[in-house]
Subunit: 648 residues, 2 copies
Amino acid sequence: MTNSYNNALPALETVRIRDEFWGRTMDLVRNNVVPYQWEALNDRIEGAAKSHCIENFRIAAGQAEGEFFGCVFQDSDLGKWMEAAAYLLSQEPDPELEAICDEAVALMGAAQQADGYLNTYFTVKDPQGRWTNLKDWHELYCAGHLMEGAVAYYEATGKREFLDIMCRYADYIDSVFGPEEGKKHGYPGHEEIELALVKLYRATGERRYLNLAAYFINTRGTKPYYFDQEGEAREGEAYRQHIPGYGSNPGYEYYQAHKPVREQKDITGHAVRAMYLCTGMAEVARETGDESLMQACRTLFDSVVNRNMYVTGAIGSNESYERFSFDYHLPNDTVYGETCAAIGLVFFARSMLTLEKKAVYADVMERCLYNGVISGMSLDGKSFFYVNPLEVWPEAVAKVPNLYQHVALPRQKWFGCACCPPNLARLVASLGKYTYDYNGDTLYVHLYVGGAIDCGMVHMDVDSRLPWEGRVTFNLSAENEELDLALRIPAWCQGQFTITLNGKTLPSEIGEDGYAHIRRTWGEADEIAVEFAMPVLVLRSHPALRENVGKAALQRGPVVYCMEEADNGPKLHEFLLDPQAPVSFQYEAELLGGVGTLTCTGRRLVEKDAALYTAQAPETEPATAKLVPYYAWDNRGVGELMVWMHTL
Amino acid sequence: MTNSYNNALPALETVRIRDEFWGRTMDLVRNNVVPYQWEALNDRIEGAAKSHCIENFRIAAGQAEGEFFGCVFQDSDLGKWMEAAAYLLSQEPDPELEAICDEAVALMGAAQQADGYLNTYFTVKDPQGRWTNLKDWHELYCAGHLMEGAVAYYEATGKREFLDIMCRYADYIDSVFGPEEGKKHGYPGHEEIELALVKLYRATGERRYLNLAAYFINTRGTKPYYFDQEGEAREGEAYRQHIPGYGSNPGYEYYQAHKPVREQKDITGHAVRAMYLCTGMAEVARETGDESLMQACRTLFDSVVNRNMYVTGAIGSNESYERFSFDYHLPNDTVYGETCAAIGLVFFARSMLTLEKKAVYADVMERCLYNGVISGMSLDGKSFFYVNPLEVWPEAVAKVPNLYQHVALPRQKWFGCACCPPNLARLVASLGKYTYDYNGDTLYVHLYVGGAIDCGMVHMDVDSRLPWEGRVTFNLSAENEELDLALRIPAWCQGQFTITLNGKTLPSEIGEDGYAHIRRTWGEADEIAVEFAMPVLVLRSHPALRENVGKAALQRGPVVYCMEEADNGPKLHEFLLDPQAPVSFQYEAELLGGVGTLTCTGRRLVEKDAALYTAQAPETEPATAKLVPYYAWDNRGVGELMVWMHTL
């Protein structure tokens, strides 16, 4: 493996998550989400919308008769499900689950065509359509998800069959696409295969896969546009009449295919696609050392997190085409903020962190994970949000559907064609992959999630009280190993932390990378205890973010808080926070599965007369508000929500 | 004429408007808008979209060959144009214009069918469709606009031909609709004919017209729904599948036809329709003395102005179906605020004022006229807004069309199928009708518009400095007439005014009706001088109006002000008004055709670093802002607009 960057992610099986906060979510994924989804893929959930995903594979395999049913990207559901299942297996043996997976692998093998092609839609329904519409038909996207599943399953079980299937498919794809004459010079409309090919390359050492990933990225957005060419080949002159623009056919910005990726300075288009592209770019850059590609990643990361991200880590402010709108246009109520997009930002930040160690990447990853990602699932794991707004007025959602119909209240049961729930499952099940990095003799700790890591150099048990308390304890066993233990200092502690080594306080220095480095030769039993301050942060937005002028949001530790009608009654906007007044924190074990809550003070507008407009100054009375974690909102019936509060 | 209410509007020809402020707009209507529209109706404007309105009448009259072209309500354009032209003729003779009108009347006469029916769409294109879809096909709406034109033309010229044509049509309509067996028990989907029939009744004394207006109003929204019945008669069972709801077929709330009008407590649906209905209700109530109908009018007026009206007088906060959304949902940016709807609110307020003398009705009328109505036209009279937003971020309008595509920037040239421009023309041309009322021996002055009124009892010359100065002078000549001169005390003067009679100060008392009453026996030459204070009002919204929490708008006299990018640069939201600081007023003769402007002080947010979110308190620096009248915005190139400013 040629790698100019001495970075490696620990294999998932070397990390065990044993964390009070994340354990609950992982248990839900293991016990509810993954089993439920398998039933759904097999159409065995009564009353649920038909998935037909497995049946499509059976028909493609010649094991059943019938028509294809579902979205053009229906196959990807199985890929994501296999990936989530694999991560679960890497954490804990489960012969029953593994047997089901093996069965699915055999089915995929049977559905694969002689040339390696594997896509049930085009095999069953439209054989002539193969590779004729990369822009919209998700063929390479489905291939990518299946590849990710194959790599995860191989890493979890050591079984090669699925991996081999996907290598055959990748080899075939490589024979179709590339710079050589006679090959198609295309790239996918929905990015995903790029990052998957890098994973396949790492799993197999087959550099052609990396090259193909790089080809897709480097060719993207170059002129003449491939999407024009394939469109004209398919439809003739008619195609030209409906590009670009909004309406039924959005412009190529939507696909991040309007310019070569290195010329893209602003994040644009469909938020999930954009994140998958950026992740693929960072992964290719990591393997190739391509500095111009790295710089493109940095530019786009900056564009996302400094001009286009909500405080919850949600991205994609525009419901129309689930996309980014433009810098500082971040409405709290009409936002899309797809769960999958926040997940994609975790992927992107994770890849950047592998590329270069900067705590800011981990800060963003953590912001998404504790807020805009897990807000996508109810506390019982049974219902899901696609859209994650920061402000909700249920009456407006019901009565002004043209602005708010995408805001589905409450969370919806997950049936049929579904992207966010399995995406959330595979992310949570693989949380260990996001927690640590090796770099030379440095062990980086990015996230403070309880558990253990056993990585050759060192065995380390981690006990974390996050997110409600700032105490994390590491028990290391390393037998005279010299090692730099690099602990990320989260921005939310505002530089206030203490580190003790076997009871003795160490100097609290933060490196330029945002990590505290403890370099020493470790013994058989050392204890590092870290205590991060958890001040309640009264957050303000950049002045250009017009939606939030005069408003503040509260954050404590990694958790962003919100007001809900359940605690504060309706008309949340009538509360005006006093930003100077102290805010109290309390842990409430009985509330929302156990959460920290905040109580803050301010004043409340008084409705004194009926006039809509008056020259009288507003009348207010003293008031308090109770805030709960944003991720836990909408678990107590439909009501108002407000993250950004008005201030005095 | 049976009339339990001793109210009468002065005939328009007894009022002459000679006002510096309104004169400019009236001149534009006379010299630009009305002549231009006649050319447009005749398809003689090169490059303009085809109107075909006159040609449709020619074809219906058998004077030309061809197909009907245009909207189903294309005939109404001629009705509104005739009405505007008639008002101009009542103010000043114009033989050329009158000859054109006479020609148009002759054409309408020729197009009228033997049974009295007059509608070019159904005559030329769909004879079988006559009266089969009252809900959507605007037949009675077109009839109403032609009736209004006919009454205005009769009053202006004394010529009966157009009036007779419309009486024949009204007689025919009366033979088709009504409570009697064998008649259709329907009512129009777009209200308008109700108020027009009352005008026709007043012009002719023919009580059947009043009865038919009352029938349409009283039958509206009763069960079984007529719209269901005609829909099923037309389409059978298929019709039931698409009512009610949003999408292609909105619910009957859209048509104000979901409940009998007396049971409607909240203003709802298409804003223009709602206003025309309410106006018709008030006019019928005025003639019949129906107290339950009056009470329904009061309830709906209260719903509009105290919960659903913008500070500019704009109404209809929802772009979808151009309708009211619900109480206190008044977004400043996604608002529709159709010019025609503000005009409709003037009609409604005017009718309420005739029904009962309360200054609040005139206050609303004045608020609309000086703000949300004339904002619909550019200062040169050549371009028009349908949509009148209170906050505009042009980049968002361009890049987030799903939220803002209805906000057309800048004002658009008016071509083809157009409702607002001719509506504005007929309102402005008839401003004299909105200015005064008689009631017994009381002469009410509702609006302070310069000119003269000569009404038998009294001749009065009025000189008004409004809206820039608060001085109004009345020179009366009445020869021993005892008369109560009732002067409306506008809410904006906050009770601060002085009245002098022949130089002697009178007591400043405001009656319960909101008017100052000066009852005396008047001589040959009396002078009343009124001086209204014009404090700059720092307006605040009702606390339930969430959009405006922490914001203020400035008003001086009847004029609502706004910040524009042209004066303040971009990012208007970064200015924070100090609501306590003095605001200075200056008249700028060279700016925007001569306007008063305001200069206010506060602070401006400073963009100090790139971070999107920070725990630092916002940094600000001292700043001033210049405000111009809202009606004059968007006359200096596309830029940001903001009526409701953030405050310190």
